[in-house]
């Protein structure tokens, strides 16, 4: 793979990541959000694949496949299952920060991520590290979704966005953090999502709705 192609593919994958993250902020239909999230998973897998091709590492290819299965397949599936039980609450009707402001915030977060990532880029300038700000942006946008979205499901997506961003940063900085850790992280994420999904259904059982802002029983 030529240097230019590598960089273009890398940028494409990263662009996909960023775009999907922004789309999550933009859209209100939960089903659409899940679909966007699946696309992001694919983009992440693509990113890993590009890196794997570049490095020529079979191991990394395997990881790419794993990422694809987990993030574009299993997790969206779990989310969809959670949504299926959600009844009519299928829209993120009234986010705490409206869409326009959210998009503006995303822009600011992007700038922030860029500014913050400079030392990382400077440490080892390369095409991959140049893309680190994208990963950080996705993390921050994920956090932002977590903070501003009312539906349990959108929070779940927010958390996963963060995780996608972190994974992206991980792959962009180095070739991962060691296999044991990698596996552990993935397992943890999967389990966390499982737990959250179960909790979502339990919440629905007990509260009837999953507007998180109504969870105010525990307070001082």
């Amino acid at each position: 793979m030529s240097e230019t192609l590598y960089v273009q593919l890398l940028d494409l994958a990263c662009g996909g990541l960023l775009l999907t993250a922004v789309l999550v902020l933009w859209r209100r239909e939960l089903a659409v959000i899940i679909r966007v999230f699946a696309v992001q998973g694919a983009a992440l897998a693509a990113l890993v694949a590009v890196l794997a091709t570049r490095e020529g590492s079979a191991e990394l290819w395997a990881v790419a496949v794993g990422v694809l299965v987990l993030r574009a397949g299993v997790l969206p599936h779990l989310l969809r299952r959670a949504l299926a039980g959600a009844g009519e609450a299928r829209r993120e009707t009234r986010p705490l920060v409206n869409v326009a402001a959210s998009l503006l915030a995303a822009a600011v977060l992007t700038l922030l991520a860029y500014a913050v990532s400079q030392p990382l880029v400077a440490l080892s300038p390369s095409a991959a590290t140049q893309a680190i700000p994208v990963g950080v942006t996705v993390v921050l946008i994920g956090f932002f979704v977590l903070v501003t979205r009312r539906r349990a499901l959108s929070q779940l997506v927010g958390f996963l966005l963060m995780d996608n961003g972190i994974t992206a940063v991980g792959f962009l900085t180095t070739a991962g953090v060691g296999l044991v850790v990698e596996l552990g992280v993935s397992l943890d994420v999967l389990l966390a999502v499982l737990v959250l999904q179960i909790l979502t259904s339990r919440m629905r059982e007990t509260f009837g709705d999953t507007d998180l802002d109504e969870l105010r029983e525990l307070r001082d």
């Binding site: 990382l120 440490l123 929070q155 953090v177 850790v181």
Partner: protein
């Protein structure tokens, strides 16, 4: 192989519950496992102080004095919590709030929880530490939501979401640190010992980001501001033995990670950076606990906020960074663990006896259940930092180290906040305990709180004469102090 035992032992316990369920014969398995864990921890501590750190599992597990000490803390609190569990579960089952299945799941998850924590303190790799700590969140999520009431589910949700978000930051930090480490001479990866040893080669710009993210992230799990908010909810809703474990050790285990990070930060950035970060977090946590404790209305939440306070104090001690301060902070971890475990277990009994966790709902406890009330009261006095409990010794040590470090104003502020918190604790507790009990003429069967008494006595004994513990503390602080 010695190092694998502490991780495997609880897993075996979990296996027992998985296979046989919770019944009369297996009720005490968890306590036995915790007791064995304590024995192993003591042996390990003795070994480590005698012959230095040891590794196992191809360098994945590593035990130095600090790990051994933390293992000791985990085991000690676990013994208290698991010893109180059978009686707790039986009462719950008798009251119809739980079934044997709940018991099985409870015991199983608690054993897994213990395993995750022991793994966290024994792991040689920061990544594994992260995995283990995130695992504790997942394992305890269902323990927090065990009662399945609205409040319990809400608490579990908040717990998982906030902790996962926070710990995700730590993951990002870990990755960034890894990045810095791979580009540093010595290429240590994420091995804690190697990182600490070669910290001065890390790129400061990158390490700064990593350290901030790691401290914030693990700080979440340690109940430090700003991502502390899950703590009062989760601790107040979890069953008493779980609250005891969470408050007594989980927070400290997360803080253990911060301590490890701090060594690296000190090596890479000089002592000022982590100190400033921890000081701000510590003081914010203290202020927050103070502000919220004044008007608290739920006694389990009160204990939870007190945990925020004490972790704040530990963070304050850690921020100082001198050997004396670190030894005091570590001693504080143990003392707080014991006292808080006693209090949460006591609070659980109070809740079972009175049916309410509101401060207003409990009156004249000392008249009705003198032994329980006595333990609860003494526990609160221990938390306030009165001798002979070891929290006094450690707070004294922290204060002394702080003034020696020249942080007069910050320490003054911290102590004033501690005073306010102490006043609030005493105020609320005295309302619960003291006074005549005229509404309940016949006292219900009052449980004899042997476990609570034992915990208090250990805490007091530790405060009077800690025996060999200071030696262990001493060698633990050596691993934490950067001499550069």
């Amino acid at each position: 192989m010695m190092l694998l035992v502490p991780v495997v032992l609880p897993l075996l316990g979990a296996l027992v519950y998985l296979l046989f369920g919770w019944r009369r014969a297996t009720a005490w398995v968890s306590a036995v496992s915790a007791g064995l864990l304590l024995a192993v921890a003591v042996t390990l501590a003795a070994g480590v102080t005698r012959s230095g750190p040891r590794t196992a599992m191809a360098g994945l597990l590593r035990a130095d004095a600090l790990s051994a000490y933390m293992l000791l803390v985990i085991a000690a609190v676990a013994v208290l919590a698991t010893a109180a569990t059978p009686a707790f579960l039986r009462t719950e089952i008798n009251a119809g709030r739980a079934t044997a299945r709940t018991g099985t799941r409870h015991s199983l998850l608690v054993q897994l929880f213990l395993a995750a924590m022991t793994l966290a303190v024994l792991a040689a790799n920061l990544g594994v530490v992260w995995v283990a700590i995130e695992a504790t969140t997942i394992v305890t999520a269902f323990l927090v939501g065990q009662r399945r009431t609205r409040a319990a589910v809400e608490a579990a949700w908040k717990y998982v979401v906030i902790c996962s978000a926070g710990i995700a930051l730590a993951l990002l930090g870990t990755i960034v640190l890894n990045f810095a480490s791979t580009h540093a001479p010595g290429a240590a990866g994420l091995d804690l010992a190697a990182l600490a040893a070669h910290a001065d080669g890390l790129d400061p710009g990158v390490t700064r980001i990593a350290v901030v993210l790691l401290i914030l992230g693990f700080g979440t799990k340690a109940g430090l501001a700003p991502l502390h908010a899950w703590l009062p909810d989760a601790h107040s809703q979890a069953p008493a033995p779980v609250s005891a474990l969470m408050s007594g050790v989980l927070l400290s285990v997360a803080f253990y990670a911060i301590l490890r990070v701090k060594v690296i930060a000190d090596g890479a950035l000089g002592t000022g950076f982590a100190r400033a970060a921890l000081l701000v977090m510590a003081l914010t946590s203290l202020a927050l606990a103070a502000a919220l404790l004044i008007g608290i209305r739920d006694y389990k939440r009160m204990l939870a906020y007190s945990s925020i306070e004490h972790l704040g104090l530990v963070a304050f001690g850690a921020a100082l960074g001198s050997p004396a301060a670190l030894a005091a902070a570590l001693l504080h971890v143990l003392g707080h663990g014991l006292a808080k475990a006693v209090l949460f277990l006591g609070a659980g009994q109070v809740l079972q006896l009175t049916g309410t966790s509101r401060v207003d709902g409990v009156r004249g406890l000392a008249s009705r259940h003198p032994a329980l009330a006595g333990c609860f009261g003494l526990g609160v006095l221990a938390l306030v930092g009165l001798p002979p409990f070891s929290l006094f010794a450690s707070e004294l040590g922290i204060a002394r180290a702080a003034f020696t470090a020249g942080l007069a104003w910050q320490t003054g502020l911290a102590l004033v906040l501690v005073l306010v918190i102490g006043a609030a604790l005493v105020n609320h507790t005295s309302r619960m305990l003291l006074g005549a009990a005229h509404d309940h003429p016949v006292p219900a069967a009052s449980p004899v709180p042997v476990v609570l008494l034992a915990g208090l006595m250990v805490c007091a004994a530790l405060g009077i004469a800690a025996g060999p513990v200071p030696v262990l503390l001493n060698s633990a602080t050596h691993t934490l102090v950067v001499t550069r």
